[in-house]
């Protein structure tokens, strides 16, 4: 699961998709997950990273993580069908 290469993420959590022109604001946890996705980390790596910093158990994290991914997919931010 990779984030599209041309997605820009600012330090303030502003995400811009230059292919569609959409922009979003994400919170700090979202920013960290996006950063890890940009580094092409696996689910396990993202999970261990986030659960070591935040008070969340692994199964709850997975549930929220996959929800988050489906949202990224819906907003065409994931590199599945690269139209770029």
């Amino acid at each position: 699961m990779r984030l599209k290469k041309n997605i820009a993420v600012s330090d303030t959590g502003f995400v811009f998709n230059p292919t569609t022109g959409d922009s979003f604001s994400i919170n700090q946890v979202g920013q960290e997950i996006i950063r890890l996705l940009k580094e092409e980390k696996s689910v396990e790596e993202v999970k261990s990273n986030i659960t070591s910093v935040y008070e969340i158990d692994a199964s709850s994290f997975e549930k929220y993580y996959f929800d988050f991914l489906s949202m990224l997919r819906q907003f065409e931010l994931l590199d599945e069908e690269d139209e770029h």
């Binding site: 041309n6 811009f16 230059p18 139209e83 770029h84």
Partner: protein
């Protein structure tokens, strides 16, 4: 060193449904190659750009093309005698026919234009879009011309509601039922005449590309944009440049296949399956062209160069994520200015 030229253009109606005149002038004024004197050609006395500071150097009133192509061209030649024009840039679809037909006459008088050919202009007409799609292998929505109000009842055999009701030059409305089609048919036909075009409604995101073709199949520049805020007239109040290769490739393909000459705007809808449908091809520079200038492609300047027969290197780069936001502004002027234009036909 910049070249002194005089450019005459229309589209000074910088209203909530703006013509491209002001952004085209801004692009030309920002050119390092030209020191341009701008002659505004106004159809109406209250077109805002006539009175704006630093936009036009002089304005001349011109007759509407509906009064006859010859009358309009005669007026241009009359202005040219008084105040010689090097380049003429028509900015409205409805006047293009008159200027394309008179291109040679204008050229002989020393007025340069860079317009599409009559064939290019005709074949991309909204009512010809299905054939255009077939000819150039482009995805376009199904559409049909209607010229009688009693044809509306039969539309349900060929279309699903909602559908688009469009004028041959301008205006487009989404209609959810026969009654709405009828209402929009009357509104459009009264303003733009017949036929009225009925077009399949493609659900998705609207994206546009402003482009310039050199008439030999080469794209001189192209910038894609997504409208971020749309007025009740369907016009962009804000937009952002995109990095979208698919959109650009499609534009290059159209320009190459048609050998498009001049400015154009490709209006497309991107469906949720990422398919691109061409809903319109406008045969001139759009009112949002200044976004392209701001993003690094001065297409109005390139158009002037092409009209003057100068070599123009294709513009490939532009800044992605550049935005425009329109605004309105109350300009204060004196009655004597308005009076001068109204009585003398020039200001």
């Amino acid at each position: 060193m910049s070249i002194k030229i005089t450019v005459a253009l229309t589209g000074l109606n910088n209203t909530d449904n703006p013509g491209p005149g002001v952004p085209v002038i801004r692009g030309i004024r920002e050119s390092a190659s030209f020191d341009a004197r701008i002659l505004g050609l106004a159809y109406e006395n209250l077109e805002p750009a006539i009175y704006m500071d630093g936009v036009v150097d002089k304005t001349f009133q011109v007759p509407y093309p509906s009064e006859g192509s010859d009358v309009l061209v005669k007026r241009i030649l009359e202005i040219h005698k008084k105040d010689p024009i090097d380049v003429l840039i028509p900015n409205f679809d409805a006047e293009l026919y008159a200027f394309m037909r008179s291109e040679r006459v204008l050229e002989q008088a020393g007025i340069h234009t860079f317009l599409p050919t009559l064939e290019q202009f005709e074949e991309r007409h909204k009512s010809n879009l299905p054939e255009y799609g077939k000819k150039y292998d482009l995805a376009v929505p199904f559409s049909k011309d209607i010229t009688r109000i009693d044809e509306i009842g039969k539309l349900k055999d060929e279309f699903d509601y909602p559908l688009m009701v469009k004028g041959k030059f301008y205006d487009a409305y989404l209609a959810y039922n026969e009654e709405q089609v009828r209402m929009n048919y009357n509104k459009i036909s009264a303003k733009w005449g017949l036929p009225v075009i009925i077009q399949e409604f493609i659900k998705g995101t609207e994206v546009n590309v402003v482009a310039l073709g050199d008439g030999k199949g080469n794209t001189i520049g192209a910038v894609p944009m997504r409208k971020q805020f749309i007025t009740d007239k369907g016009k962009a109040w804000s937009g952002i440049t995109l990095d979208n290769k698919k959109l650009l490739d499609l534009t290059y393909k159209i320009i190459k296949a048609t050998k498009w000459r001049g400015g154009m705007e490709v209006e497309l809808v991107k469906t949720h399956k990422n398919e691109l449908y061409i809903i319109e091809i406008n045969p001139r520079i759009p009112a949002w062209v200044y976004l392209a200038v701001g993003a690094g492609q001065n297409l109005p300047e390139a158009l002037v160069k092409l009209a003057l027969g100068m070599e123009v290197e294709p513009l490939k780069d532009y800044e992605v994520g550049k935005m425009f936001i329109r605004y309105s502004y109350d300009l204060i002027t004196d009655l004597k200015e308005f009076e001068k234009l109204s009585t003398l036909g020039e200001l």
